[in-house]
Amino acid sequence: MMAERAMTCEDAAPLLDAFVDAELEGATLIAVARHAAGCPSCDTTLRELIALHEALESHGRADAESVDLSGLWPVLEPQLDATDARRAWRRRLRSAQVWGGLALAASALFFLSGPQQRPTQVATRARPNQAVIERIDSEGGRFELRRERKNGTTLIMVSATADDVP
């Protein structure tokens, strides 16, 4: 009997949504679970999806009648991407000069690091949807930046209601 091929990240990635929604059939469900158990990247994605799923379920369903989404963002926000440090970002994004300063600081660090030091490995290849926000502003409402890891897809989320209008 031939052993089944182990699932890779490429195999698992398109199935993660369906996994969280319990839409997969048994064998595939187990294969995704097995892969995620040994893959930190897929496991993290899965945890994020589950957190989103739970936050949406608890708020979306409970308030389905009144459809009051005002409490949704405060709940989603801390769970979406803990590593993103969005609040700090927003402040920095307002000033292009800060980016200039950062670029200068990065260049200085690079040149001062010395030849014997092994350079830190950074992502050199741009992801297909990579976007760099140089400046951002909004008249009223709140906004936040989210970024998807795999393709680098950037989302600017604006939550603006009539109450937010200055």
């Binding site: 990635a13 398109p14 993660l16 949504d17 929604d21 994605t45 994020e48 999806l49 989103l52 799923h53 936050a55 949406l56 979306g60 389905a64 459809v67 009051d68 989404l69 005002s70 963002w73 989603l76 292009a96 741009a126 992801r127 297909p128 949807n129 990579q130 976007a131 760099v132 926000i133 140089e134 400046r135 951002i136 502003d137 909004s138 008249e139 009223g140 409402g141 906004f143 989210r146 998807e148 795999k150 393709n151 680098g152 897809t153 950037t154 989302l155 600017i156 989320m157 604006v158 939550s159 603006a160 209601t161 209008v165």
Partner: protein, 146 residues
Amino acid sequence: MKRVGVVPICVVTILLLSVGRGVALEVQVTAVEASYEGPSDPQLLQLRPRLRRLVGYRAFRVLQDERRNCPWRSMAAFSLPGGRLVHIMPKGMRADEVMMHVQVVHGLRALVDTDLRLQNRGVMLIGLDEDVQAPGILLIMLKAVE
């Protein structure tokens, strides 16, 4: 003396920036309704996992799709459902990135006003959650192709 030098430098810079690129940038603006449940449009099925990861909603439906050539350094307006407008001004190319000024306007309010660089042929999203009475959000997908 200094001013005399600045003008030629600016002209040369603009000419250099213009070399090797077309007269216009192709911009695609797609308005997508994201909601908790319901079917997703077949053309969005490939994007669905990515959208799902970013916004948490499950169902995605295309409301409007417009593709247009936008001349460099000119503001182009794309209308969206609900009386909103997307203003896009392609500013130039840097390496393989498109530099753009993007505004999403609703009435007199600029909901988003941003300068950004997007990978050529890349897609980025702007999500609008303006109406607390309505379930779901409006997603604006921007794609720029040089």
